[in-house]
Symmetry: C4
Subunit: 263 residues, 4 copies
């Protein structure tokens, strides 16, 4: 086993009992978490002004580590059967979703544009938290979720179409009901969609609501019918979870021969 | 196969491997989608003023296509066993729900009333999207939904009665609680129903809410009891989905004879 | 069969194929529905002033019918094995819940107090809608609901205790967080309970909400934990429905002997 | 059986048919309930001023009883095999969660700090209601809840991670959308989290909401996707309840030999 292969194992594809890889993972995770925490704190104006130099130092430190990690991945990725070719494999590695996220996380630092742009893009570092998904202990649950979404794809697609149609229909009706009375709030169908989403998701901020009798009657009917519709995806996925879990757990065994009664 | 029969096949009742019919369907769907999109954009005042002539041209183009399609359906519908009689069959075809929607979608254009009326009715074009339901790939899911609603009809009817009674009871009580203190907001029982619906669906815009102690106590009790009631239809339909799907999927097979254990 | 027995059959305990009883039921139901509708319309000030005499006439007509019905029930109730004794049975009949509702529905009319009191008590007529529950065709669904609530009594009781404790705890904490900053809104723990109920039921009117950082953090934690808790009763009842319905429907039959595999 | 053992039985670990212990439990529960009720009433300023001396007397009475109870527990706890050692056992008893709650409930009274501190800590008395959990009749339901939470631990952990990530992502995006337009409301990412929680839990107070077109589009997408995510824990626990209850109830029995078909 050469150094390149070992590097790859540590940064990317380690086995469960590989201590070095585990410590590396934990360290990177912690750094990502601290980066996210720093981004949040930095957004508070008073804190940013008071601790500007500390934030800058931490930023330099983080980007250095992340850059070394990225280069190590890029260098050692040829060990993997997926990216064997030194040129083509590495290019494919760069354009893999996870690597792009890593690149977006460190890229802005090296672009000499200062200020707004840099800060916005740094928010992409947040998505590095997705690396958590690789942690083997949660992979079963993630697989379960993926399986359920897959098995319910058709229902979800048709529910989405229903939801979109309903959203459109309710926005159109309410627009014609309320626009003459509240031309500033229900100013157009897209503006009315904001009302429809706030209502059908039951958030109801209260910044926009019907005031005419007809508008209120229509809104009531749409609310009662539509809320169930917007709750259906959750219900479908919930039912999918129950089914998938029961499929795993319930085995019927014949008392005569101990054979399983197959479903 | 004559031209009339072929026309009917293309516009209405095509088989899955009929290319011409498929392209026609896709074209009409796209045109409906573009019409809906245009209606939404047109409702934005600034866009309407700026691109008035483009909207008009697209309108003329769409109505022309839809009219040709409608006449083609009307002409060829006698091919179908459902509408065989040239006069009676065609009249029955005109009054079928889908044809009425199509007629409402093109009708307003030919009526010489300009402005508000025209635009309102044009919104009916939206419902042409229901034609999607015929697309064979979604028919299974639609059947499932219909089956579940049918099998739960009784529960849904009784839940609706409960909901209506609860709505009425809570509105009446809150009206008597709040009317003396807020005569402008809780001005009548129908006005209080708007409060009740906003509360029981948990939308809670905040335009109307109790301010007296008694009103708040009653509203709290109604909210805690009623929200569950208003969530029951979703729960019942959700449970119906689980059952219907499980009915399809779980077959028990006896290990001795491989026969299915019937449910 | 004497007249008294026939009267009892018509007003109260009819068999399914008894035409006269069915027409009587439908008539009373319609009158109840119209009374409710009239109460709602009467609460609209403009309508009440404009049609005062019609409302009065309808009131006199309704009360006359309901009084005759009540007296017919009271006279003929001795036919029923439940109320056989002419004096004791009739007294027990008067104090049965359904009869009390009937009495409350007609009583206020005969009391010579005019105005507010009369109108308030007239709202009790609303509860006559509970008679709808007697409609035999829905009795199966009602039995199902009763069965589910009974079978989940213990879970519902403990969930209610949890909810009450959680409500109290969150109100107490938020009171201490927000009272110093908003002494007019979070003025006492009972006042804060109104906030807690609006939040935990996700109604969120927006008349009262935390503004301090600590209050917002606590409110967020309470909201995320508590909403699930307040949704549990619906979930428990929903699960109960699934179970009860599946119990009825799924019978496993052995392929060798066609006997049912008992659960 | 000596007095110490009997005392322990009465205050702590009684059998179901022990009358004295049952009366003691009921008395303490009632006193706790009255204490909670008194705390709530005392928070209402007008009531506190009017009945100050009654509240003080009740306070002295309650603390006396609770102190005697606490000392009785501490004295007799050595009877229990868990706390046998007179010194070490008693120290372990003092630091058991239930005993700490009891201590916090009476402690503040004896500390000579008057006013705010005392009142805040007295709220801890609320948690003494947890003693109800020992009541044998609810222990089954509690066990069920514990079992369900345990069996769904993994799903709940991963859902929590997803929720936290989603909360962070939506707050970050909305902060960058709305901060330039509403710098006072969306002042920082933590401030935007308050918006995100109010939205994703569908509470929607209406104190903070996006006003820019981009912000509204993003908020709509986050709301539609995120609300399902925030409803998943309830769904997962609900499904867990169904499964756990069905596991208990459905036994398949072979019609030939009456043996159970094992799952």
């Amino acid at each position: 086993m050469n150094i390149k292969q070992r590097t790859w194992e540590i940064v990317e594809a380690a086995q469960d009992n590989d201590k070095a890889s585990w410590y590396f993972d934990v360290f990177i995770m912690l750094l990502i978490a601290l980066n996210i925490f720093a981004s949040i704190l930095e957004s508070v104006a008073t804190l940013e002004l008071a601790y500007l130099q500390y934030f800058s130092l931490f930023e330099i430190f983080s980007v250095t580590i992340f850059t070394i990690e990225y280069l190590a991945r890029l260098w050692s990725c040829t060990t993997s059967p997926d990216y064997q070719n030194p040129i083509k494999g590495r290019i494919r590695f760069i354009f893999s979703p996870m690597s792009l996220i890593d690149l977006f996380a460190i890229g802005p630092f090296f672009i000499p544009f200062i200020g707004y742009d840099l800060r916005t893009l740094r928010a992409l570092r947040l998505f590095r938290v997705l690396r958590l998904a690789k942690a083997s202990r949660y992979s079963k649950s993630l697989e379960l979720i993926k399986k359920v979404v897959d098995s319910r794809k058709e229902e979800l697609v048709i529910t989405t179409i229903f939801m979109a149609t309903f959203l459109l229909a309710s926005s159109t009706v309410l627009y014609f009901c309320e626009n003459p009375t509240q031309p500033d709030k229900f100013s157009s169908i897209p503006a009315t969609m904001w009302w429809a989403i706030a209502t059908l998701t039951t958030v109801g901020y209260g910044d926009i609501y019907p005031i005419t009798a007809l508008g209120k009657v229509c809104a009531s009917i749409f609310a009662i019918l539509g809320i169930g519709m917007f709750a259906l995806p959750t219900g479908i996925l919930g039912a999918g979870f129950v089914e998938e879990i029961q499929k795993k757990k319930t085995k019927l065994v014949c008392p005569h021969c101990q054979k399983e009664i197959k479903k």
